[in-house]
Subunit: 334 residues, 2 copies
Amino acid sequence: MVSPLRWRDGTLEILDQTRLPAEEVWIRCSTPDEVADAIRRLAVRGAPAIGIAAAYGLALAEPSASGIERAADLLGSTRPTAVNLRWALERGRRAFESAGADALLPLAERIAEEQREADSRIAVHGAALFGQRERVLTHCNTGALATGGRGTALGTIEAAWEAGRVELVWVDETRPLLQGARLTTYELGAVSIPYRLVADSSAGVLMTRGLVDRVIVGADRIAANGDVANKIGTYPLAVLARRHDIPFCVAAPLSTVDLASPDGDAIELEQRDPAEITRFGSAQVAPADAEAVNWAFDVTPHDLVTAIVTEAGVLEAPYDRSIADVLSTSQSAA
Amino acid sequence: MVSPLRWRDGTLEILDQTRLPAEEVWIRCSTPDEVADAIRRLAVRGAPAIGIAAAYGLALAEPSASGIERAADLLGSTRPTAVNLRWALERGRRAFESAGADALLPLAERIAEEQREADSRIAVHGAALFGQRERVLTHCNTGALATGGRGTALGTIEAAWEAGRVELVWVDETRPLLQGARLTTYELGAVSIPYRLVADSSAGVLMTRGLVDRVIVGADRIAANGDVANKIGTYPLAVLARRHDIPFCVAAPLSTVDLASPDGDAIELEQRDPAEITRFGSAQVAPADAEAVNWAFDVTPHDLVTAIVTEAGVLEAPYDRSIADVLSTSQSAA
């Protein structure tokens, strides 16, 4: 299993996912600034993985109240949509207040371990949803590279495949940064799960021809009512799935739920550099003066979501109630 | 206005659209094989323009019954979905039978001229559909480069803009070959119509935020019942537009209608080289052994189409009747 992060000799090493699959380059980060830069430019990405990276980034801060505060602000400003980042930094702040800077590295390791455990449980719960030999479509990358564990949606697909419940994975290339074409293919190929890469806009023809039995994706933030912010292009998949009566499932750890967002309208959607659209690597694609708009996420309303798979089990509608219930249970158990 | 084709010194010169917008390179074709190759590799594309190119290609054939037949078969095999190609070649065959090879060049010039006239009428009829200062979304390229005239959907947008009926054009980049990012931006920029380039998967967030007033696209083939085959990604736009109560319009000449296709199921959808997905120019994007599937078109069912704009006026549902009526009227007028 590939890993997006490793702690070595007092530094955080980050596998540069922008260079995959062509090259495996590790970036050595010895300051929160270097970690923040890696998160901002998507060297490490995936909501759970950026939460873990931020927790390690905090452990690299100057061990004073002002140093920790500055690092938390910097790391928290890198990506506005994924809530795991804020959640991990908030845990870091509380750990520092109660036990000092020495508590930050053990906390980062604990968050990483919790995610690995959550991934394993998500995979078990999610795989049970699959029928026999399904053709499943997924978007972006939600595997080991996105979480440091087994992955969320992709971990579920892998577990379902091991149980004979998956025939083929349709992998959306996921413009503009091609996490599907570059990373999901790389992870599926490593474990020999059959897949076919397609352009994002192919989902319609695939569903029309009866070639998709299920859609499963991850999440960057889940609002209290079950609305799901995820990689741009997720909402069109959910709308198409509904038209074709295909289950549309979301797999994410409970750390992705944000009760402070009552619904999707409350979620800030990151816009990224237009050059991700107008250029391709070093090549200019559009005219030099072309203006582009680059939303990184969209929101899928809860009424289009068949199920949300979490480490605590599979949530179903009405989500406001099932989410509130599972969070109160998991908090009282913790 | 840019032109995709020109006849010069007894040869057909084709503007190589695969090199735009970076370079304007003209390919000189003196045989039907060279024209067929240019069509196959999308140096010239757009349903009307490939019909015109094929008609000129026939005029380059060896002037014998067997030479014409061989050229027509070759040219007709290049792209299976766009029906204009077959329609132009059928007209060429009939012209040769009744008036010999000397009739082929004048016929090609007539088809090109008819398309220019059709485009102008489509633009007038289409522009009348627009309200005031609309934000209109379009897919692929349907401008002068696609027809040799004013364009179909893009010509309509341009005419509506001249009349103050367009505020902004959302341009889908149109994976995998980026005709939107490369060509539509180039054409809109040349006439200073404000546009923003977006990833194909952005339509959902644009519509959710109330930023799209209309979708208008071209067509590669329209079945007798009004089902529309067009560039991959068109059908998802139509499904999203319906969910958001946004008009979804198609602009195409009557030569795009194929009464021999009773509905969309009868339309062959071209699949192209998977390398268009796995590679980007000379760069490998996906793992070297990645398998991809590359549908070039999808079918939008007629129930999602608000209007079909033709040179003979705007058609509305029920399309089986409105299409049959307009074709019988235009044939009796011809």
